[in-house]
């Protein structure tokens, strides 16, 4: 692989994707598993280009579809470590339906959302997480929609691992990424990430003034939901919810284990295969 420093990276100078990428690379390299068994999926957007700048197998698919790809890969190959990484528009907007239902599937997948609260690649339109009232090209009067709280949604639909971290705090990101990836179950991580080109409100200084660490996961899901919903003058980051009792769906070994010829012959010879 061409070293990242020499690769033509498509992000703007100062983009929050840089520290996210560097941290992710460090965490993945230090994981107690072979790198060849890591697969990244992504959709479309600036954050979705992430896999191109990391030395692992990847499927960079369509806008909003990183999650069904991840589901297919994980079901086919339970032994692979599958991480879906994309932006807020991709994971929560175009892929909103998949976000809800992927969590419900109880698979061991890590969902990372680089949440800059704006559509970067298409030049700054409102995303599902854009603050109410923020002005942009498609909302000249200010965003009229209520911002989505993705982590509260994740908690309500049963995600067993829910965290928020901040691109301006690599140390914190590192801990959260590592725990999320090693957690046996669907982990959802929302990464607060300034967009230096199009989000003039949620900037590095704006976040630095507000974020504070929640050091331990909360004891009740309802408390975790309340914490996830805390927004404004004070913004919590940390692992809000970690369900140690969670039972992950068992994978089925199929890869390079073809169906036995006699099994199909048996099905073929069944005089009538009853189906209603």
């Amino acid at each position: 692989m061409v070293p990242v420093s020499r690769q033509d990276i498509a992000w703007c100078p100062g983009c929050g994707d840089f520290p996210i990428r560097a941290t992710l690379e460090k965490v993945l390299k230090e994981l107690p598993l072979p790198g060849k068994d890591i697969v990244l999926t992504s959709g479309i957007g600036q954050a979705a280009k992430m896999p191109h700048y990391l030395p692992y197998s990847y499927f960079n698919g369509l806008h909003g579809r990183s999650l069904p790809l991840a589901v297919g890969i994980k079901l086919a190959r339970p032994e692979l470590t599958v991480i879906a990484v994309s932006g807020d528009g991709c994971q929560y907007g175009e892929g909103g339906n998949h976000f809800i239902h992927t969590i419900r599937r109880r698979l061991d997948i890590t969902i990372l959302a680089c949440d800059n609260k704006v559509y970067g690649l298409t030049k700054g339109q409102s995303s599902p997480t854009t603050d109410a009232g923020m002005k942009n090209a498609l909302d000249p009067q200010g965003n009229l929609n209520t911002p989505l709280d993705p982590l509260a949604v994740a908690l309500i639909v049963g995600a067993p691992f829910v965290a928020r971290t901040f691109a301006g705090d690599p140390q914190h990101m590192e801990k959260v990424f590592r725990e999320a990836i090693l957690f046996k179950g669907t982990s959802v991580v929302d990464i607060l990430q300034p967009c230096v080109s199009f989000n003039k409100v949620n900037t590095y200084p704006w976040y630095r003034e507000r974020v504070y660490r929640v050091e331990e996961p909360l004891r009740e899901r309802s408390e975790a939901i309340r914490t996830a919903q805390t927004w404004g003058e004070r913004i919590p980051i940390g692992i809000f919810w970690r369900d140690e009792q969670f039972v992950c769906r068992e994978g089925k070994e199929m890869f390079r284990k073809p169906v036995a010829e006699d099994a199909v012959a048996r099905l073929l010879n069944t005089k009538c295969i009853m189906m209603r």
């Binding site: 697969v39 692992y56 579809r65 069904p68 199929m254 099994a263 199909v264």
Partner: protein, 540 residues
Amino acid sequence: MEFNVLIGGEAGQGMFSVEMELSELLSEMGYHFFATKNYMSRIRGGHNFHMIRVADKPVHALSGRPWDLIVAMDDGETERRHRPSLGTGGVFIGADRVGQIEAEAKGSFQDVSATSTILVGLILAFIGADPAETKSAADEPARSALAKGRDFAARWELAGRMVIAPKAGDHCKLDGNQALALGALLGGCQFMAGYPMTPATSILHYFATVAAEIPVHFEQAEDEIAALNMALGASYAGLRSMVATSGGGFALMTEAVSLAGMTETPIVIIDAQRPGPATGLPTRTEQADLNFVLHAGHGEFSRVIFAPGSIEGAIALARKGFDLADRWQVPVFILTDQYLADSVQVMDGRVPTKMLRREYPVFEAGYKRYAITADGVSPLTYPGLSEARVEVDSDEHTEDGKITEDLDLRVRMVEKRLRKMEGIKQEAVMPSRFGDRKAATVLISWGSNHLIVQEAVEALQAERIAVAALHFGQVYPLAPKMARGLSRKRLICIENNATGQFAQLLRRELGLKVNHRILKYNGECFTVAELVEKVRKIVG
């Protein structure tokens, strides 16, 4: 000699049970038969009817002849609609007599659902089925219920009305969807994702059922967009994968079809057609998605479209589809329809039963997923087998799967993806020819009309009207060798749609001019008698 029976009534009145149980026993006892249904998109009420044709020779279509027996489970509607089509000497069993059977079911078996089994016994007696054979084909309590049916037949002087000899011997009976599912398994398919949609749903049911005992997985997706993306993920990860849906669900899949084209991920997509646009007639048949599947997905890339015309064809083409998809790394489509999906047929041809499998070559680090080659096919492998990374991208990409805006490379990549069509054409599945090869008129069909046309051709020949026929199981791509000699013939294209989509495709791809079109788009299949009459009008 043949026997045609119609069982009509409201949804939920047990007609489907009669069809299922009867076809099971006919199969067990070695009869040639064909069964299909005409039903409404509702679970209770309305008017549904099931049609079964039993003969002493292979039959694979509705004859369109007057009914020899009509059984009305309802009070009025079946009689009103179908009694006018009862043949001379035909028998109508109406609500009064069904009522007596119901009373017997309740009285003798304390179970109203035994009504269907008693009716089956009556129908078997009607065609002179050997009581001993009938007995040995069933277990108790069905055996006693069948005997009651025979008693009713005797009492109403119906036993042996039309004696049909069981001449099929030992065979397998399948409906079109079962055949596709079996073909997929034979083709090495191990992963399917789907969202229920009539008439494709039973393929999903089948996969979910068999997955319990073999290394195969079915995942119910949140929508068809997710279904195809999941299947592409599973294919990328290393399993032969497929999806099955109908036109409306396929509409949601189209962006992922384009993704399969760009990422060159092997995939098989079944579209079980039903009449559109939009929700259309959910439980009826049509062949109007050809243009849609042909053009689905933005951008330009290679694809293959199969349209099997029989149980054997469905098994063989579904099986082959998985090999083609892997070898050429393209989406392979299988167009079926409600008619074929819901038709139960005796399989009298041979099908290849050798299992096909995906190959798992191992490459070293530096592997290029999109290496440009002479035939357009890059070596394909899967993540985790070695240090070779499998890098796949929906953007235009370099040979090693990185986003690129190098426009010269773009041109080479487009050409690489399209070049595959030449190789695919070389190994095209040739159309099957039947009828009088020297005849000046050729009947052209594709997909599920195959065996209806075949029987119509035989009937026309019996009337000394010479016609040849050509059935296309592969409808795209079309190669000149598939239509050799056709330009000098009078061509009649038979399709279940309103615009003659395949006739247009023949013109576009091979420059063939179709002289006449026989089209049907009311949601029902052709019958043999109807087709014979329409061809006779043109030729005769």
